[in-house]
């Protein structure tokens, strides 16, 4: 799942995800609330949850941190199955500190690349197969 | 000259020789200042010197002897007025070394436009001190008297000699002090 308020970035990332071949499907939304609504629907319908979520930190209305907080609160049961990755436009040391404190191990600069996706896949999902 | 020194001089004469003598000395003086001297005021150096000279004449003392006694008295007066400068010291050597850096600094804050002598110190051994004194007014016996006052205050005998000399066209005076055990 891609969460970013920039339509072109989401479009680009969707292409990259496709090129990397690591995902069966990819959904892109433009704000944190839309993301939370979608996840709620999926949980209620007991349908397959996105296992990899990329969240942009700087979004209006609900930013990346707020999304993470709400997501962790609402969907405790499936947290183990989901890998969240925070995305940012600059390696801001304050944000990096925040990521450490909130126990977010994955914190990457934009844009995503095919290599980064492959590495993530290898770290988290290869073992599951 | 700041008024406080002139006030001390006035009090010195009154305390040691009486008010009548003091009145006579002042009457014989040709002072530039008409109003009474107040401590924070600034007055011409010549007024102090006039009082000293006329006082010596009346009391039959040399200027040197007068200034020495005055210095001794002056220290006691200043110590009484500003005890905080002395409280933390038990030995005159340590105290004397604060005069230039600490005491004169405070004096400048309190008394604007005061012209103070400059001291430099050297420390040849544990119970010796050399004070190099510079002042436009060259009141060497006055300082000698003050040092005697310091000795009295701390109860430590100080034997002193001094030497006047020229350095780079400037007249300086080195005071050699030896402190008793």
């Amino acid at each position: 799942m891609l969460i970013d308020d920039s339509i072109p970035i989401n479009y680009f990332h969707k292409i990259i995800v496709k090129k990397s071949g690591i995902a069966l499907s990819c959904i892109a939304v433009n704000n944190g609330q839309e993301a939370l609504d979608y996840l709620q629907i999926k949980q209620d319908a007991q349908e397959r949850f996105p296992e990899l979520i990329f969240v942009d930190i700087n979004m209006p209305v609900i930013n990346g941190w707020e999304f993470l907080e709400k997501f962790r609160a609402k969907h405790k049961s499936i947290l183990k199955e989901v890998v969240t990755v925070m995305l940012t436009t600059s390696i801001n040391p304050d944000d990096r500190e925040k990521a450490k404190k909130l126990n977010v191990p994955n914190y990457l600069p934009k844009p995503l690349t095919v290599q980064v996706l492959k590495d993530l896949y290898d770290s988290y999902y290869k073992a599951r197969l | 000259m700041k008024g406080i020194i002139i006030n001390i001089t006035e009090r010195f004469i009154i305390d040691n020789y009486g008010e009548d003598i003091f009145d006579e000395i002042i009457a014989s003086c040709n002072l530039k200042t008409e109003e009474p001297f107040v401590a924070p005021g600034t007055y011409p150096d010549s007024d102090l010197f006039e009082i000293v000279v006329k006082g010596c004449k009346k009391l039959d003392l040399t200027v040197e002897a007068f200034l020495k006694k005055l210095g001794h008295y002056a220290f006691a007066q200043l110590a009484e007025r500003h005890p905080s400068f002395l409280e933390s010291y038990t030995h005159p050597k340590a105290f004397l070394q604060t005069v230039d850096g600490v005491i004169h600094l405070e004096v400048r804050k309190l008394y604007q436009d005061s012209k103070l002598p400059v001291f430099q110190y050297s420390d040849p051994s544990k119970d010796e001190l050399i004070i190099t004194y510079y002042s436009e007014r060259k009141l060497y016996p006055f300082l000698e008297g003050m040092i005697n006052g310091v000795s009295d205050h701390f109860g430590v005998a100080i034997s002193q000699t001094n030497k006047i000399y020229q350095k780079d066209d400037v007249e300086l005076c080195d005071f050699y002090l030896k402190f008793a055990e």
Partner: protein
């Protein structure tokens, strides 16, 4: 004069003294009041300057931060365009694309450097830093560049100092990178780093590179000032401006000793 007359005279003199002293107090109080007023005005002016300065810093940060995202978008799609439509653009189209890509990269670099520059000094935590370890770490980071340029770096014993770690690292890194970058043709860069203790610690980074002419030495610490064309040496020209800002952050000074063609020694002082 009898005693009575004497006493009256004494009293009159005392009263006169009191009046003189009262006048002095009044005049001192007036002086104190205007000195206070003066101080207050200066304080107000200082406050205004501090506010304006903070605003400017924030502006620089926000501007460069908000410029990053559109730039990332542009660069990403330029890459894609290049990859997916390479064969179909023709020679001219490819050239257009290359120009766009280069300009965009140049813009990204400037914005990124500006962002870093505006962030210098925002972390207000001072720590004790072992400069020897710092240099070793920088050498490790730059190992590829050092190997490629065959550079040798001699590090004399350096002290431990109090400072801002990230910024000090950037300071040394910029100076070392410059020493490697601006080397003389055919001569591998040789860098000597040392420190001397006086009232402050004076560090020097000496190189055997192309040097800087006297008339240019004034402007090199200015932000985005470049002495050479981009074709000859890459970079936005912010490195030395960053160094200056960092040194000033530590309340030190930075200067250069150099002759054109005979290498440069960059020196900076940090209070001990």
């Amino acid at each position: 004069m009898n005693n009575n007359e004497k006493n009256i005279l004494k009293l009159k003199k005392a009263e006169w003294k009191i009046r003189i002293l009262e006048d002095m107090v009044e005049s001192r109080t007036r002086n104190l009041y205007s000195a206070n007023l003066d101080l207050q005005q200066r304080n107000d002016a200082l406050q205004e300057v501090i506010i304006k300065n903070t605003e400017l810093e924030q502006f620089a940060y926000v501007a460069s931060h908000d410029l990053q995202e559109p730039l990332i978008t542009i660069n990403s799609f330029i890459d894609l365009l290049g990859q997916e439509y390479k064969g179909q653009l023709g020679e001219q189209g490819n050239q257009y694309l290359k120009f766009i890509a280069d300009s965009s990269k140049g813009l990204s670099d400037v914005v990124s450097d500006l962002l870093h520059y505006s962030r210098i000094g925002t972390n207000r935590e001072m720590t004790t830093i072992d400069c020897n370890k710092l240099i070793a770490s920088i050498e490790s980071d730059l190992s590829a560049t050092i190997a490629k340029s065959k550079a040798t770096i001699d590090v004399n014993p350096l002290p431990e100092i109090k400072g801002f770690k990230t910024e000090l690292r950037l300071l040394f890194q910029n100076l070392i990178s410059n020493a490697i970058k601006f080397c003389a043709e055919g001569t591998p860069p040789h860098i000597i780093i040392s420190a001397e203790k006086g009232n402050n610690w004076t560090f020097s980074v000496q190189d055997n590179g192309i040097g800087i002419a006297r008339e240019d030495q004034g402007e090199i610490f200015t932000i985005f000032q470049r002495l050479h064309s981009k074709n000859d040496y890459e970079g936005t020209g912010i490195g030395l401006a960053q160094c200056k800002k960092i040194v000033h952050l530590h309340e030190g000074e930075i200067w250069i000793n150099s002759t054109q063609g005979q290498g440069s020694t960059f020196c900076f002082s940090i209070p001990a």
